[in-house]
């Protein structure tokens, strides 16, 4: 049986979600997406360039009919801004699956959970299906789920930091407590970080900078695809127990 995951009634095979920011150009972005195997990309909502409307658009390179566009509220610091952005996103794209993130401060880009929870409640009332970026706090995750978040997306480390999963214990607690998908969002720096997230039992991983800022983003995209797959396989396989001392793999009997 295929190992798929579902969010808000939609089923996906790839457990890797990639961002579309910070790439050298749209061609590189599209090639990295292809190499990553991702079926969902995050996108931002911004003012059109009225003074130069002929500029190429993301949609010319990444077809929203083939790849699910997940509009994101990156850059919003209040519930109100985030809600306004997603209302526009729904109108621009016609879909209600969105990623909510309400940031607390520019220095750490840590989520403001009070505003995030407020925005989640309003969005759910308006029929949105919000996947919600949050702190790696099992209580906050529960509150978001109760408010109607369709996925919980705790940070592994600050956005764009590449520090890897800082607190495996809390990520695991969130996974154990959630009835909706849990995806690590932010903090992944290299392939092993993505594998760790998956080995903890997460349903998926979202990343942008780890691929876009690699020296070879297309090769890194492939590495991330493989890491997410192998981390998932290891989780399903069930890892061995850990011991304090050695345990020989060869039989002791029959030694010469």
């Amino acid at each position: 049986m295929a190992d798929t995951w579902s969010v808000a009634g939609r089923t996906f095979t790839s457990r890797l979600i990639v961002g579309t920011g910070k790439y050298k150009n749209f061609e590189q972005n599209a090639a990295a997406l292809e190499a990553s195997g991702a079926e969902i990309v995050t996108v931002a909502v911004r003012r059109v360039n009225v003074s130069d409307p002929g500029q190429p658009l993301l949609t010319d390179f990444i077809d929203p009919k083939k790849t699910v566009y997940l509009p994101n509220t990156a850059g919003c610091f209040t519930a109100e801004e985030a809600i306004r952005t997603l209302r526009l996103a729904r109108e621009a794209g016609g879909w209600d699956l969105v990623k909510l993130e309400v940031l607390g401060e520019a220095k750490t880009l840590y989520p403001d959970m009070r505003e995030t929870l407020k925005a989640t409640e309003v969005l759910v009332k308006e029929g949105f299906k919000p996947m919600v970026y949050c702190v790696d706090d099992p209580i906050a995750a529960k509150q978001l789920e109760e408010a109607g978040a369709v996925a919980i997306m705790p940070l592994g480390a600050p956005i764009g930091s590449g520090l890897g999963i800082q607190n495996r214990v809390t990520i695991r607690l969130i996974v154990e407590g959630a009835k909706v998908p849990v995806l690590v969002d932010a903090g992944v720096g290299t392939a092993s970080d993505a594998a760790v997230a998956m080995e903890l039992g997460c349903d998926g991983v979202l990343m942008n900078t780890a691929i876009a800022e690699a020296k070879d983003p297309i090769r890194m995209a492939r590495a991330m695809r493989l890491a997410v797959e192998s981390g998932r396989l290891a989780y399903l396989a069930g890892r061995m127990g850990q011991r304090r001392y050695a345990d020989p793999s060869s039989p002791l009997a029959g030694l010469i």
Binding site: N29, A44, R47, R87
Partner: protein, 70 residues
């Protein structure tokens, strides 16, 4: 002679022909109405009604689209 009205688009002041629809405004700006979302005085203008809503003097528009982001 055509009358004009004064509006704001994405924070910038602009004068446009009186009586035009929001869809006509988008086209005049070189935008494909199916690829953008329009907010008029903080209210979303549904895409299906872009051709029916008339641009009024003093309107404040936000016109957005999807761009690369994390």
């Amino acid at each position: 002679m055509d009358q004009t009205v004064s509006i704001r688009i994405n924070g910038t002041h602009r004068r446009v022909r009186e009586g035009m629809s929001v869809a006509e405004l988008a086209l005049e700006l070189g935008l494909e109405p199916t690829k953008v979302a329009v907010e008029r005085n903080l209210e979303i203008v549904p895409r299906s009604t872009l051709g029916d809503v008339t641009v009024e003097d003093g309107d404040d528009y936000e016109i957005v689209t999807f761009v690369g982001g994390g």
